[in-house]
């Protein structure tokens, strides 16, 4: 197994990181990293940005193959950050459907706070300090899967995720999964049997630190068939950084909240 280690050889910064299950593991090296740099993550994936001619050669290698890009830029740094899980497959879905691994039965006029696992993708961002930044690549350790929410005529194609429910924050590999603190409020007059939640990509507010990727959302159940989900823009823990939004509601002029009209 690869050891967690950092070293600098011939000006090349080499960083290796391995997730160790449990309450404490070495801080994830999100960055920023000076160039040239080589990052080896979880035994299976490596990223490097090495000098090539007048620019840099970006290279990502994992089990699915190799991605290479020429980056023509002067001085800069790279950093990693979690982003919304909608880049793979690209341009198809902009909604996330979380299917609960167990149904939640909620009495009328009651609310509950739960922690659910959510898939994330990782962006490699090239930054020229105080000038600008650009996303070089987005990758994921997860196999994406799609599902239809609603009817064939008017439903939504969503990124599907079988989400496990926890009553406190579980320990997860921050490169793979994040935590969603979901407050479900049953505003209806009947018991609610909640089995899934659908969220809009345009509203995901992801915060992260060296050991946790987290977001917060609410789910308001209006009646037997409809519910509303909205992300909350705020960190789950103090000191967490906000990830850049790749699907900004403001940029796309789309509503951030999601009205689930086909059941929950």
């Amino acid at each position: 197994m690869m050891e967690n280690q950092d070293k600098v050889i011939d000006n090349l910064e080499e960083v290796s990181w391995q997730y160790q299950p449990g309450p404490s593991f070495r801080a994830l090296p999100w960055g920023p990293h000076r160039l040239p740099v080589k990052l080896a993550l979880d035994d299976t994936l490596s990223i490097s940005l090495e000098k090539s001619g007048t620019g840099y050669l970006y290279r990502r290698e994992d089990q699915s193959g190799r991605v290479e890009k020429l980056v023509q830029a002067g001085k800069g740094e790279i950093y990693l950050c979690p982003v919304e899980p909608f880049h793979h497959p690209a341009r198809i879905n902009q909604h996330l459907l979380l299917e609960f691994d167990q149904p939640v039965l909620l009495e009328p006029r009651k609310s509950v706070r739960l922690y659910l696992t959510v898939p994330i993708e990782i962006a490699v961002v090239f930054t020229r300090k105080r000038i600008d930044e650009t996303v070089l690549d987005v990758f994921s350790f997860l196999k994406p899967k799609l599902s239809l929410y609603g009817t064939v005529k008017s439903g939504l194609v969503c990124r599907h995720w079988q989400s496990s429910i926890h009553e406190s924050i579980p320990h997860l590999n921050p490169l793979v999964e994040g935590i969603l603190q979901l407050t479900i409020k049953n505003s209806g007059n009947r018991w609610a049997d909640v089995r899934q939640a659908v969220f809009s990509a345009q509203a995901m507010k992801i915060y992260y630190n060296a050991q946790l990727v987290a977001m917060q959302a609410t789910m308001k159940i209006n009646n037997e068939l409809t519910a509303e989900t909205t992300f909350i823009d705020g960190p789950l823990k103090a000191g967490m950084s906000k990830a850049p939004e790749q699907f900004s509601a403001k940029l796309l002029s789309l509503p951030g909240r999601m009205v689930m009209e086909e059941g929950y």
């Binding site: 497959p89 198809i92 879905n93 196999k143 899967k145 799609l146 239809l148 064939v152 005529k153 939504l156």
Partner: protein, 276 residues
């Protein structure tokens, strides 16, 4: 003070009536502009850019035509006289432009009904292609071979239209035959596993894989998968070969069509009971 306004300009037309006519014209121009702005604001999310532009033109031209007809008597022109004179011309033009008017009205109905929109993959009167433009008179599609076809809107309106892009997802079907000696359950499990690992095959609606028929040469399996409408054809092209390779690698045979011939010269004991 305003005696000049009573002075005639020509015939019975005075400066006053000319002024009123000009004010009505300018007022109508302003009114049509305001209506256009209001329509643009209120319908920009409900109608496509092309349809909205067309609707705004029709409404603003309509307002101006009504305004012009109403001020014509003020400036000494009788619309009734024009109508009589124009009637014959209109009749001639009407006959000549019958198909144009038909296409135009069909175009307006198509804009209301909206069975297709720009970018949709459609089949209209036997032409399969992507809708490139919808005009008031005709609809343009680009076939999958890259050919440009202009279809009159009357044809579009009266033909049956298949819109392959109308729904967000669609189902496709693959037929796989395996030999009678092989385990169909095993083959079904392999195909379902391929579907489960493919990112563009939907979890819900779930894939269906089952024995459809006991064919002449093979046990015929049918696999049905749902995929996003924009991706289904690529997935279909990719999947059949993947399934073939996967089930053959597990020792399951895909048989050739075969027929057993029994010759009359053989021993009776060699023949099947039903023939013997």
């Amino acid at each position: 003070m305003f005696e000049w306004s009573e002075q005639t300009v020509y015939g019975t037309v005075t400066w006053y009536t000319l002024l009123i006519a000009a004010l009505i014209f300018l007022g109508s121009l302003l009114f049509s502009k305001l209506v256009s702005i209001q329509l643009r604001r209120s319908l920009k999310d409900k109608l496509s850019k092309e349809h909205l532009g067309m609707l705004i033109k029709v409404v603003s031209y309509g307002i101006m035509i009504i305004a012009i007809l109403s001020i014509m008597p003020m400036v000494g022109l009788e619309p009734s006289g024009l109508m009589v004179a124009g009637g014959i011309v209109a009749l001639a033009i009407g006959f000549a432009s019958q198909s144009i008017i038909g296409n135009l009205i069909s175009g307006l109905f198509l804009m209301g009904e909206r069975p297709v929109k720009i970018g949709d993959l459609v089949e209209i009167s036997g032409n399969l292609g992507t809708v490139e433009d919808i005009q008031i008179i005709s609809t343009a599609i680009r076939t999958l071979d890259g050919l440009y076809i202009r279809i009159p809107n009357e044809t579009v309106f009266t033909s049956s239209i298949t819109n392959f892009s109308a729904n967000p997802v669609r189902r496709f079907e693959l037929a796989i035959g395996i030999s009678y000696a092989d385990d169909a359950d095993k083959a079904i499990a392999i195909i379902k596993d391929i579907a489960a690992n493919h990112p563009l095959i939907l979890i819900n609606p779930p894939p269906q894989v089952f024995v459809d028929a006991l064919g002449d040469s093979s046990v015929d399996l049918i696999a049905r998968f749902w995929s996003p409408t924009s991706e289904w054809y690529n997935v279909k092209m990719e999947l059949l070969w993947k399934i073939k390779v996967a089930i053959e690698s597990e020792g399951i045979k895909i048989p050739f069509p075969q027929r057993v011939h029994w010759s009359g010269s053989g021993e009776k004991a060699d023949l099947p009971e039903s023939i013997a």
